[in-house]
């Protein structure tokens, strides 16, 4: 699960207060500290971003690299001194969202005029689905559907928060999530039938 924290862009970290969570565990204000953090977190970051990327390894690597480089620049400038893995994940997610936002306008326009004729699909028992197979089918989903699923079910964001991230209305996001779930169910079921 990814905390919905946004990486600070500029300025010093907020003042600590009693009700704030504990200080992020990794000090990245030295190269050695940064590398230690990188080694500890690159796997989780890559796994997360590969979900968003639908199993596209090249894209996941790009996003991972960009996210860590963003942190390196912030750390090098002294703007960030301590982080946890959520910082990098959110940074990578931002870049991915930039991508789909820029590409999504036309798709959404078409989507608005399309008549949805999707037969309800019985959901498989998700707990029995092989994760590798699931990732493969996730990669076949339209980008916005895939992103919505990851934000909703992996990041555990509310539908409203997903809507904000995707620059859509809550109603449209609910519809998107429903379609995404149906489509993933259909794809997984089809794949199982061979």
């Amino acid at each position: 699960m990814v905390a919905e924290q946004e990486p600070p862009v500029t300025g010093p970290p907020p003042d600590p207060s009693a009700d704030r969570p504990a200080e992020p565990p990794f000090a990245v204000d030295t190269p050695a500290g940064f590398v230690a953090f990188y080694r500890a977190s690159v796997g989780e970051v890559h796994r997360y971003l590969s979900r968003l990327a639908g199993g596209d390894r090249a894209l996941a690597e790009d996003l991972t690299q960009e996210a860590f480089l963003a942190l390196a620049r912030q750390a090098g400038a002294g703007r960030v001194t301590r982080v946890d893995v959520g910082w990098v994940i959110v940074a990578g997610r931002r870049r991915f969202l930039d991508h789909i936002r820029s590409q999504g306008r036309e798709a959404r326009r078409l989507e608005q005029v399309a008549v949805e004729v999707v037969a309800p699909a019985a959901e498989p028992d998700w707990s029995t689905v092989d994760p590798h197979a699931a990732l493969a089918q996730l990669g076949r989903l339209p980008e916005d559907q895939r992103t919505a699923l990851v934000l909703r079910y992996v990041d555990d964001l509310s539908t409203a928060a997903v809507a904000t991230q995707l620059d859509r209305s809550v109603a449209a996001t609910e519809s998107l999530l429903a379609r995404a779930r149906r489509e993933l169910a259909r794809l997984v079921s089809e794949a199982r039938r061979g």
């Binding site: 080694r39 090249a58 991972t64 750390a75 400038a77 707990s127």
Partner: protein
């Protein structure tokens, strides 16, 4: 509340990073951190706005020579703009160069092209141009396959650059040298590239122009290609005060990072630059017919708009790719007029290519359209560090 089974499944998905990627990225991050800690490396560069006309040196691996078009005026906000957004995948470097001559002379810019594959340039293509810097090393070297396959030592100009070509400075702009001394090493899944580093913190509005392969910049996948009136493709991403575009100049992917500069001004500057910045190839290569900077640009873009089918074979084109639709349209014998052309968006999966949709008016007046795919040919390989960066500031 029990976890949704779908959430549980999705959280079990995900690809582990490959060890090569993880190692490369670690090296990249180490280099990035070292660069941040040591802001000056490589060749000395002229002080910003200092001295006689700024000019350009061939790119070097360390201490990228950088020339800025600068201003005598206004300040503006301080910007911090990453110059590169590294990308993975195979890489062919689009190496390019620009010469700026302040005041009287103007700007020279050259673009190098050729074919490189997996690090080996197999076709140097048309001559490439480079200019000499006022204070930096200079070199004039004809590109060869051998030279372009050689990795340059740090601080040594990358071979493969030909004579400078002076072109006009875009109206309203002047040139200064920028201080971007610290090359950034970018690790990708296939290559390790050295790119220009920290031109980020430059006061005032600025436009950075970085010739680069779209594979590396990240912009191609974060932008939607658009079309400018003059046929320049762009893709754009707003990032606060910074906007990035991937611009096509004579078949050259150029990443443009504009900070605190209005769209119209960027468009105007780019159009002007594009009009003037395309270097003619030398007569020996014969790759660009006509010569002259404007003619070279026309050869790249113009004939498709104004010329006949034969004119479609240009420096930025693959003759075979162009002639095929010509033949399909019955134009091989000429006599038809190309009535117009527009770019058709390409995808990040098509590095080094672009598509035109060409409208052709046949002799009888019939209008036909064809899609033309153009394969670019790059001269240098990214691992040479043959990057060049230019920044522009409005007057």
């Amino acid at each position: 509340m029990a976890e949704d089974p779908l959430a549980g499944l999705l959280r079990r998905t995900g690809l582990e990073p490959g060890p090569a990627f993880a190692d490369e990225l670690e090296a990249t991050l180490r280099a990035e951190l070292a660069g941040l800690a040591t802001p000056t490396t490589g060749e000395p560069v002229p002080a910003r706005g200092d001295g006689p006309p700024a000019a350009m040196v061939p790119p070097t691996v360390a201490g990228e020579p950088v020339v800025t078009l600068s201003t005598t005026s206004p300040g503006g906000s301080v910007s911090s703009t990453p110059n590169t957004a590294p990308r993975s995948r195979r890489v062919l470097l689009a190496a390019a160069a620009a010469l700026i001559v302040v005041g009287v002379a103007g700007v020279a810019l050259a673009l190098s092209r050729g074919v490189g594959d997996e690090g080996v340039a197999v076709d140097a293509g048309p001559a490439t141009s480079v200019t000499t810097a006022a204070t930096g090393p200079s070199s004039t070297t004809e590109p060869t396959a051998a030279s372009t396959a050689t990795t340059a030592a740090p601080g040594v100009p990358v071979p493969g650059w030909a004579a400078p070509v002076a072109v006009a400075l875009p109206p309203g702009w002047t040139a200064v040298a920028a201080d971007c001394p610290d090359p950034r090493t970018v690790a990708t899944s296939a290559n390790r590239a050295t790119t220009a580093g920290h031109c980020d913190d430059r006061p005032g509005p600025s436009i950075l122009i970085e010739p680069l392969p779209r594979d590396l910049d990240g912009t191609a996948t974060t932008c939607q290609p658009a079309v400018l009136a003059d046929g320049t493709t762009t893709c754009e991403r707003a990032d606060g005060a910074t906007k990035r575009r991937l611009v096509l100049v004579d078949g050259q992917d150029v990443l443009v990072t504009a900070t605190s500069v209005g769209d119209a001004e960027v468009d105007a500057a780019l159009r002007s630059l594009a009009r003037t910045a395309v270097a003619p190839a030398s007569a020996s290569t014969g790759a660009v017919a006509g010569g002259g900077s404007t003619a070279a640009l026309d050869a790249a873009f113009g004939p498709i708009v104004t010329g006949g089918c034969a004119a479609l074979t240009t420096s930025a084109s693959d003759p075979a790719a162009l002639q095929a639709p010509c033949a399909a349209l019955g134009l091989a014998s000429g006599g038809a007029t190309v009535a117009g052309a527009r770019f058709s968006p390409t995808t990040a999966d098509e590095p080094g290519t672009a598509r035109y949709v060409v409208d052709v008016t046949l002799p009888g007046g019939e209008l036909r359209s064809a899609e033309v795919t153009i394969a670019y040919r790059w001269a240098a390989d990214v691992r040479q560090g043959a990057w060049w960066l230019m920044a522009i500031q409005p007057r």
